[in-house]
Amino acid sequence: MRPHDLGGAEGFGPVDTAESDHAFSADWEARLFAMNVALRRRDAYTSDEFRDAIERLDPDTYYGSSYYERWLAAITTLLLDKGLVPPEAVEETAGG
């Protein structure tokens, strides 16, 4: 089963309910968020394909990555798979 399907899974501790004043904990997260919006607007990929790319991360990568690290790995993989960026331009950024 894909690692993202978490509903009802057990073994998780308390939710960290802390609220931050900042939408993103680092600038790169915001840049990545903006990149995702731009790419989808340009029809580089659909939201469905974006979710699929995250779901295809191997479980170690999925569970070992922060939320936006998953996005980074997924977007990179998606752009490579579709031949939209050359591999040498993004080496070491694809995960899983």
Binding site: M1, R2, D5, G7, G8, D43, Y45, T46, D48, E49, R51, D52, E55, K82
Partner: protein, 94 residues
Amino acid sequence: MADRAHFGVTERVRCLPQIGDHHHRAPGYVQGQVGEVVSVYPARPLPDAVVASGGRDMPAVPFYGVRFLARDLFGEGQHSVTVDLWETYLEKSG
């Protein structure tokens, strides 16, 4: 026709078990479970098909708000969970 809804509000439906390992939007915790249709929504592109076609195909399929009881899903709990499920994932429950 693919975009005409087959289920109605109050109808009992089962989410198909073992939907598969491809991209879909049927959470594992409701697969194989029976719930009640509480809402019928207009057809939207089925994610499974969008991904399988590399973003080319956008077949519109109706989807539903289906309410499940926690005790059915998890064996305990005094709450309900309403999940939005495309018709493709559902069958009539007897």
